[in-house]
């Protein structure tokens, strides 16, 4: 676990520019809203940032392995006494940290927006937990795809795996939230209102985390037999 945390923090450090830009963006939007915010605008902000978080984490996760291979930094890391699954776990852990930072920032912005408009932010915490779980799940899907595909192809495959059920569920397809938790989260995020969450939220969170684990296992099985010193394309 210590190694995974070390690699996770290291991944976060390598992405610091991306994280700073992302935080500046959320802070900027929040500052803009501070001028003359309406209750409805806080909701719109939350919905957009929710979808943005999921896409952002996916696009951060996919090129991670490829970048490490191209830069040859992976050689020294994997020459140490660590397993490949720990390496992938580190990247996933780093993505989870980025998702946490983003969710907390969005949550803080929503609380500030709510306080300015004197509107309660009921259900914000479950919303953020749900968003975090979906982000981790898409990161895991992205990492899995990038273990055997070039980042461009991996982005395509991961987008299909994530976007098709999500768009379908937003359009009213009756898909199982347990089998397609990210689609369910996207549907809930795009329809979010400040109110007490229904009981299904925690099932979706659990399903997303289980799916993240399954994709991570699939990724480790694929990556365990891959040559890391030749490019995958």
């Amino acid at each position: 676990m210590r190694v995974i945390l070390l690699l996770g923090v290291n991944f976060l450090r390598t992405q610091w520019i991306v994280v700073v830009v992302m935080l500046a963006y959320v802070a900027g939007i929040n500052g803009f809203l501070a001028w003359n915010v309406q209750p409805g605008e806080v909701l719109v902000f939350l919905r957009i940032q929710g979808l943005y978080a999921i896409s952002f984490v996916l696009l951060t996760a996919i090129p991670a392995i490829h970048t490490e291979r191209k830069s040859r930094r992976i050689l020294v890391v994997l020459s140490k006494g660590i397993e490949r699954w720990q390496y992938l776990g580190g990247i996933l852990c780093g993505c989870a940290m980025i998702a946490t930072i983003f969710c907390l920032m969005v949550g803080l912005a929503a609380v500030l927006g709510g306080s300015r408009t004197n509107s309660p932010v009921t259900g914000l915490a479950p919303f953020l937990v749900m968003l975090f779980a979906a982000s981790v799940c898409v990161a895991s899907i992205g990492i899995f795809c990038s273990t055997f595909l070039h980042p461009m192809l991996a982005t395509g495959l991961a987008s299909v795996l994530v976007a098709v059920p999500s768009l379908g569920m937003m359009r009213g397809w009756n898909l199982s939230p347990v089998l397609f938790p990210v689609g369910e989260v996207v549907r809930r995020v795009s329809d979010f209102k400040f109110r007490e969450p229904d009981a299904g939220v925690w099932t979706v969170v659990a399903a997303a985390l289980v799916q993240a684990l399954l994709f991570w296992i699939a990724g480790t099985l694929t990556f365990a037999r891959r040559d890391v010193t030749t490019s995958s394309e």
Binding site: R2, V3, L6, L7, N10, R13, T14, S71, R72, R73, L75, V76, V77, L78, S79, K80, G81, I82, E83, R225, D227, V228, T229, T230, E233
Partner: protein, 302 residues
């Protein structure tokens, strides 16, 4: 005691997904490196040296064959904790030098005071103490290579796999690294050294392998490889150099003869009233041998 490294009939083929052609980097490659020796690994560019090292570390997998490192199959993670690796053109994370060294040490399971002390000692030994707080991304190639050596040595490994460890170092740096490697051997460690610096290899290696086109073309001790048993150098005095087609130096005449003519030539020196001082096998330089083998196998010169 198991060998430090053993490659058993290993082949490695690089196949492109959308292309028909493939490249065989190693082809029936077999080699055994004993524990406690400094082993030089030579070969022209593209001969398969780096591939062999990467296979041993489990960074890639052989198409055919198998191997062992410190008694465990290639790629065994726990065994890698006992191995220090410096890749060619080492790439490290953008951190301060000390932080980077600590990070790589921590990945190998070293923590706390032992890690800090280990980093400080190695920084002192490799003359990095003054730049410990500087971002390693701004380092020169030589300094990056020194830092790469620190990360390879930080876990006090039993086996060091070094791919061109001194290529970017100045002469003083090279001497420091050579001393470090000799010290490691004295402490019972094994050093597997891939380098194009033939003089360096000749100076410190116990045994050498020359790999050409994915196969070991020659392996042996430095003396075995460089001393020819086919030609001898006879050193004599008290004779006319013109009689024997020898070269004269400080009053001594050196005559190079084929092994079959050795006895006859010595008798001729005695008959001419001369004195034989020494008879030695002809010693080539490693460069001569390298060029000869590379030429025989049609490999490009490194």
């Amino acid at each position: 005691m198991p060998p430090a490294l053993e490659f058993d009939n290993i082949s490695k083929e690089y196949r492109a997904v959308f292309r028909r052609n493939s490249v065989k980097a190693l082809n029936g490659f077999s080699l055994r490196v004993e524990q406690g020796e400094i082993f030089g690994f030579l070969g022209p560019n593209g001969a398969g040296k780096t591939t062999a090292i990467h296979l041993a570390l489990g960074l890639m997998f052989p198409t055919q064959g198998a191997g062992e490192m410190l008694g465990r199959p290639f790629g065994h993670a726990a065994t890698r904790r006992r191995v220090g690796f410096l890749p060619e053109n080492v790439a490290l994370y953008r951190r301060t030098a000390a932080s980077a060294a600590r990070f790589y040490g921590a990945l190998n399971g070293i923590h706390g005071a032992a890690l800090r002390q280990g980093v400080a000692d190695l920084f002192k030994e490799l003359d990095l103490t003054a730049v410990a707080g500087r971002n390693s991304a701004k380092f020169s190639r030589g300094m990056t290579q020194r830092l790469g050596l620190v990360q390879a040595l930080i876990s006090n490994p039993d086996l060091l796999l070094l791919d061109e460890p001194t290529s970017a170092l100045d002469p003083l740096g090279r001497i420091a690294v050579r001393e470090l490697l000799v010290k490691a051997r004295a402490a019972g460690k094994t050093v597997f050294l891939s380098s194009h610096l033939l003089s360096e290899i000749e100076q410190i290696c116990d045994r050498i392998a020359i790999v050409i086109r994915g196969r070991v073309a020659r392996v042996g001790t430095v003396a075995e490889l460089l001393e020819s048993q086919e030609r001898f150098v006879i050193t004599a005095r008290g004779i006319d150099a013109l009689m024997f087609e020898g070269s004269q130096q400080n009053g001594y005449i050196r005559i190079t003869v084929p092994a079959l003519d050795q006895r006859r030539t010595i008798e001729q020196i005695w008959l001419a009233g001369g004195e034989v001082i020494a008879v030695n096998p002809l010693r080539r330089t490693l460069e001569d041998l390298f060029v000869e083998l590379a030429g025989q196998n049609g490999a490009p010169r490194a």
